[in-house]
């Protein structure tokens, strides 16, 4: 039998029940569309995270307290504060080759007040080298000076939003503000940086790390040490040097009992990439379930169609249709449904992903519209395969009908 005539015939049959054909297709449209949209949105979210992290600079090395290896669980997860990193560690790391700048971090939350204005926000204790580590600038006044690193000077540099909230248009330089009960002199204001997923530096205030440790927190350790290296390719060398240095400083002979973790930003990116990739696959698999549901819908409708057209099938057999003719006719019909549904689904999924991408971009985040050919081809092929798989049973049922019984069917 002529394939083109069969395909034409299938279109005619589908056109007769336009609304029903559309509803059947809808299962495929939603299935394919959601697979494509979710894959794309997943990739977009990944790009957002990457872009955010990359905005810190990829040539950063971080030292975290707590061993990241085998038996030691992540400290923060267990609610345990690990106190192994100190300000002196940070200073020592500064002497490692290829390191451009290094700063410890000692953070906390506090009420910051000026006059009758009170704001609860976080303070960041850093060293004077902070500006060399993170991409951040002072817009007014100055940052923490190297002399103040060793002191517990009560000076503060305000984030742009904190300055707005406490001082409005007035000049804050030289004014005294209170962080909890302690009085600080404002020496500078940071440039507006914009919020990122990781932190909003505009809402924070910067103070010398020793001040944060001794006066506000009453601790001796730091939460994190971050260092900038001259080139990303030196990261492995720097990491091993820092490890050697800190093992020696912490008096650790057995490398298994390591009490800190050194990681470069690109390593962190790789790790996040692995996690988000797994997440994407998982979400895609959930979306693929709707493809399966759509396939069952197709089988359902094709079974109804076979019953409805029993007489027609009988007639076709009487006029010389072979078993395979009837089989292919019904198979082609269900494949056409999934093919067209898949096509619309691909277009719809791309449109939806684009709307999300442009919406997020409009809000000012670095979200890329990523549609991989693989996701398009894969979901499309799966759709057609589903049409084939779920179309086979109804088509077989039609082909196996007894011609005479079918002809007499009312």
């Amino acid at each position: 039998m002529n394939l083109i005539r069969t395909i034409k015939l299938s279109f005619v049959n589908l056109a007769v029940n336009k609304f029903r054909s559309f509803l059947t297709m809808l299962g495929m449209i939603i299935g394919v569309g959601s697979v494509i949209a979710i894959m794309s949105i997943g990739a977009g979210a990944q790009s957002l995270i990457f872009n955010e992290i990359a905005s810190f600079g990829t040539n950063l090395v971080g030292v975290l307290p707590g061993g990241g290896e085998e038996d030691a669980p992540p400290a923060a997860l267990m609610g345990v504060v690990i106190t192994t990193l100190t300000y002196e560690d940070a200073k020592a790391i500064g002497d490692v080759p290829h390191i451009v700048a290094v700063t410890p971090y000692s953070n906390g939350n506090a009420n910051i007040s000026f006059g009758d204005k009170i704001k609860n926000t976080s303070f960041v204790g850093v060293s004077s080298q902070y500006l060399g580590v993170e991409e951040n600038r002072v817009s007014q006044g100055r940052f923490i000076s190297p002399e103040e690193d060793e002191s517990t000077a009560r000076i503060v540099v305000l984030g742009s939003e904190v300055k707005e909230d406490l001082f409005g248009e007035n000049n804050p330089l030289g004014q005294r503000i209170k962080i909890d009960q302690t009085s600080f002199v404002v020496v500078g204001v940071m440039e507006e940086k914009g919020s990122s997923l990781v932190a909003n530096r505009d809402k924070e205030v910067f103070i010398p790390v020793k001040t944060a440790q001794k006066i506000l927190l009453g601790v001796d350790h730091v939460g994190l040490i971050r260092a900038k290296i001259d080139d990303e390719k030196n990261a492995p060398f720097v990491i091993s040097e820092i490890k050697k240095l800190l093992l020696q400083r912490h008096n650790i002979k057995d490398p298994k009992k390591i009490d800190f973790t050194v990681q470069s930003m690109s390593q962190a990116l790789d790790m996040i990439g692995t996690v988000t990739n797994a997440l994407n696959v998982f979400l895609g698999a959930i979306a693929a379930i709707s493809l399966l549901v759509g396939g069952i819908g197709i089988m359902n409708i094709m079974l109804v169609s076979v019953t409805e057209r029993t007489r027609e099938i009988g007639l076709r057999k009487a006029l010389g249709a072979k078993r395979k003719n009837i089989l292919s006719q019904f198979l082609i019909e269900s494949i056409i449904i999934t093919f067209i549904g898949g096509l619309i689904g691909v277009i719809g999924g791309i449109i939806f992903a684009a709307i999300v991408a442009f919406g997020v971009q409009y809000l000012g985040y670095g979200w890329d519209l990523i549609i991989t050919p693989l996701s398009v081809i894969l979901s499309f092929v799966i759709a057609v395969v589903i049409g084939l798989v779920f179309g086979i049973y109804p088509a077989k049922k039609a082909a196996d009908l007894n011609a005479i019984v079918a002809l007499r069917h009312e």
């Binding site: 002529n2 069969t6 007489r311 009487a318 010389g320 249709a321 072979k322 078993r323």
Partner: protein, 241 residues
């Protein structure tokens, strides 16, 4: 004339659960090329089953059926489908036209299953035949826009499109008024005159007498094989219900 059909002691049993029904209980006859035979009997006599067996739609249980010298018991399902397609044209009491396709597409339906069919040529043939039965102006209509007589004429053209030698008609005038029925019989008689072999199943004596020969069937057995001497000719206005 050569022998087209040779049926020897054919039986047909239907099994419904534990109950076996013997519909044909040993039927034998020959039909020559170019004959016009009526198979006559009351309902339940097995006449329709016999026709379906002759048209390769139904399989017989025992006996022998030779068509153009082929032993049909040795043909597989695909070959039987080819025979239905190329060697036989069916005409049904209820026309069995596809309601959602045009008259022309209905006529072309059997060509869909014809191997190596030239669509253009088949279409030209369909138009020629439709014009011949007076439906040249109805080709793009749907069957439900046609009268019963017109629908049956479409069905006849459909039966002819693959140029089979044998026309099998199952109560072709059963659903029609006498005038339309007469037109149908006229066409069948004309086709017979041109050399087509026609086997027609009916329960009406006057319709049966349009043929040249009547096989009377009762309870699955041929009771009488009668040559029609006073054949009714639809063109003479002799054909009345």
């Amino acid at each position: 004339m050569s022998k087209l059909i040779s049926v020897k002691n054919i039986t047909k049993d239907y099994q419904l659960g534990d109950v076996v029904t013997h519909v044909l209980k040993g039927v034998s006859f020959d039909i020559e090329d170019g004959e016009f035979v009526s198979i006559m009997g009351s309902s339940g006599s097995g006449k329709s089953t016999l026709m379906y067996v002759l048209g390769f739609l139904d399989k017989y249980t025992n006996g022998k059926y030779y068509f153009e010298g082929h032993d049909t018991s040795k043909l597989d399902d695909d070959k039987l489908a080819e025979f239905r397609n190329e060697k036989v044209g069916f005409i049904f009491q209820s026309y069995n036209l596809l309601q959602r396709t045009t008259v022309l597409d209905n006529v072309l339906l059997p060509t869909t299953y014809l191997l190596g069919c030239d669509v253009k040529k088949a279409e030209a043939e369909a138009i020629k035949l439709l014009k011949r039965v007076g439906l040249g102006h109805r080709m793009e209509h749907r069957p439900n826009q046609l009268s019963g007589g017109e629908q049956q004429r479409v069905a006849i053209v459909r039966a002819l499109i693959n140029n089979p030698n044998l026309i099998l008609a199952d109560e072709p005038t059963g659903n029609l008024d006498s005038k339309s029925g007469e037109e149908i019989m006229e066409i069948l008689q004309d086709l017979n005159k041109e050399g087509k072999t026609i086997i027609m199943v009916t329960h009406e004596q006057y319709t049966a007498e349009c043929a040249r020969r009547i096989l009377h069937i009762k309870d699955g057995i041929i009771t009488q094989d009668e040559i029609v001497n006073n054949r009714r000719l639809a063109t003479n206005g002799d054909f009345k219900k």
